[in-house]
Symmetry: D2
């Protein structure tokens, strides 16, 4: 463990003695906006999926993945996060209904695993999906923030080592079952007067299983 | 933390005071073999993907997911794990070449996160893929075992609480970078004389990012 | 065009003069049941996805794809078709509800394209999905047959040339809009007393666009 | 069939007597660029996937799908087509290699089906993929055009009835096996001096089967 106020160890930079070079190592499936010059119109905007790899010589233990991108909560380096958003509009007998759905990827850390283990706790990426029928304008960013506040920890596009220490410890301090995730988000949506009805789901891509844990709460506040 | 030889706490079974019932909670996307009776032939065998949910009353904190299935390293309960396997055969000028590819889902726990944090360490599900050109018969199970031995921890279809404690602590005791995973599997494949050539890849679905860490080593032992 | 009772031309078998050999040609993504021998239990049953290719010398125009598998409406050769099926069970306050969902891939041929064109008509693979809440036992095969009867033509795992002539002409004789597909299946489900409620959807993967045409009818017969 | 110079029939607009209203009918999974206003930066550009549906009263046979978007070869109405593009860059020992990969969706119409049938011919959407290692700048649009020129017919985002007549007849006049597609594109790439090496693949999502027909040609022009 790291004493406070001492330099943060650089594990990746240590020597490797296995005599095995790595052909490709890096980051895979990161989404980022790009501009493409086309032959006729000029510039087109789109979203690209990047894979970026280097070859690693046999004597290096690891590569610093953060150098591929450039973030975050402690270091202050900025990066982007991507969210899948759906807008749903419906006109029925002249009545307009609008809903918004956003998938927020977060970290979840298991309270049971933390409680029963001498040390460590299994944690994983989770997708928290909020589908909200709204009666007034709500920014996507408000829904994202609301979900990220209730997770074990939010995700980042890129983390330097002081940031990685922060998110690791924050998740461990803040364990949540899949049931806790949907209840804590539901409580926030119950208090949000611009939301008339909602479905909140969480799917945890369990790090100890090859399947997911899943929970769902739905509520129509306009009934009773 | 849990002292040894004392009863393992049952966190799911504790009382919840948030007054929020959960419509559905359970396990999602678990694969299992099934038999289906058809109208003409009799019985057909296939692989089903199961989602199994219960409604959870407001006063319960959580559900025991393991009761949905039936496992594992400490409790001895048995369950199934699923692996995607590809067989590749080629005849070129009369010469037969056969390869086998298996995707082994495992747990990886980050050595950097463990080292720099006061407590905890981020961990996640990873897919380790081995594609091996073989000169003699190799069981799929041998390749799976070889990969699982080199992971932070293997996955299970189902874990009771003593099992969950075991896998959590084992992963924490056994941290691996994506680079370590491919090197340690490569070292094993180098020593396996029935394998003439291989590609080993690891994709870690990072619990702190919305993208993956990835590494690849390939080697043709018949060259030089 | 082919006069009746004369030999069916063999286009694939004609000579090619482009001087270009083909590295791989064949069929891709065909699903078939297989048995796999394992190291411990003996035999496991699963569903494999096959790709089967040959190299084609420069002087041959094409390969006979049907030889890769072995069918069908005119020739009488048998083959398998695969369907994705979902069973949904729900117990709510002691009341059991069961639904079945089946995705039936079929051919659709556009009536507008046929009507307005001098010759030919665009056609494509379509997915017709029926989700039915049942009050009595219904075979999956009954739902599949019901849908296939209402399509421009059903699909086959494999077709010899007389079969291919039959399905091409049958689809042309039997054009259907996406609207026709869902209406004709809905009419059949309205007449089926074992079905209490249903959703019927058709998605046509248009051969002239890069998007789909889609239609949906839902009905709960227990209401009014 | 339609005599030339007479009004094109409007099949969708005819009367339907089945007494079945359609809940939703329209177009599904069409990609289009959009601008989204965000809370902090201002405007973000992204690519959205649209589903657009109307309810259709029981007495109408069909809806005019083209009204959902706005195209094309005969009518001159303009629409967008979407293509998946991959750029691959590699630096090895100081040597830079760049490749570009583009997936071009087209129509393919089967020559065998046309030849052996009294009328009609099965046709379907196909994906032609070109991966080209280039020694000089090549516009993506040049590769797309080259592929579309060699297909039975190119696809369009939207077609009015005169356009639909044109593409239906053009495809029927221009039948291509999957083997023809890759050979005809390969011949064009052989003649393109800015391309040093290539792989051309075609996957035809057969309208009469539930699997694909597939072919591949690869060539490295720098060898011999």
């Amino acid at each position: 463990m790291t004493p406070q106020n001492t330099p943060i160890p650089d594990v990746q930079n240590s020597v490797d003695t296995r005599q095995l070079a790595i052909n490709k190592v890096g980051i895979k499936s990161i989404r980022h906006p790009v501009k493409v010059q086309d032959q006729s119109v000029g510039i087109q905007h789109t979203i690209a999926v990047f894979n970026m790899y280097v070859g690693l010589p046999h004597n290096f233990k690891g590569t610093h993945m953060s150098r591929f991108v450039g973030t975050a909560p402690v270091s202050g380096v900025q990066s982007l996060m991507d969210y899948d958003v759906t807008f749903i509009g419906d006109i029925n007998g002249g009545k307009v209904t609008t809903s918004v759905k956003v998938v927020v990827p977060v970290t979840s850390l298991c309270p049971c695993s933390k409680k029963i283990s001498e040390y460590g706790a299994h944690n994983q990426r989770s997708h928290v999906t909020v589908t909200a029928k709204t009666n007034d304008f709500v920014w996507i960013e408000e829904l994202v923030r609301l979900v990220e506040d209730e997770a074990s920890c939010e995700l980042f596009g890129l983390l330097k080592r002081p940031d990685e220490k922060f998110v690791t410890e924050r998740a461990y301090d803040n364990p949540k079952f899949v049931e806790d995730m949907v209840r804590d988000v539901a409580a926030r949506l119950n208090a949000e007067v611009r939301v008339d009805a909602y479905v909140v789901e969480s799917e945890n891509f369990e790090s100890i299983h090859n399947h997911s844990a899943y929970a769902l709460i739905e509520k129509d506040k306009t009934l009773a």
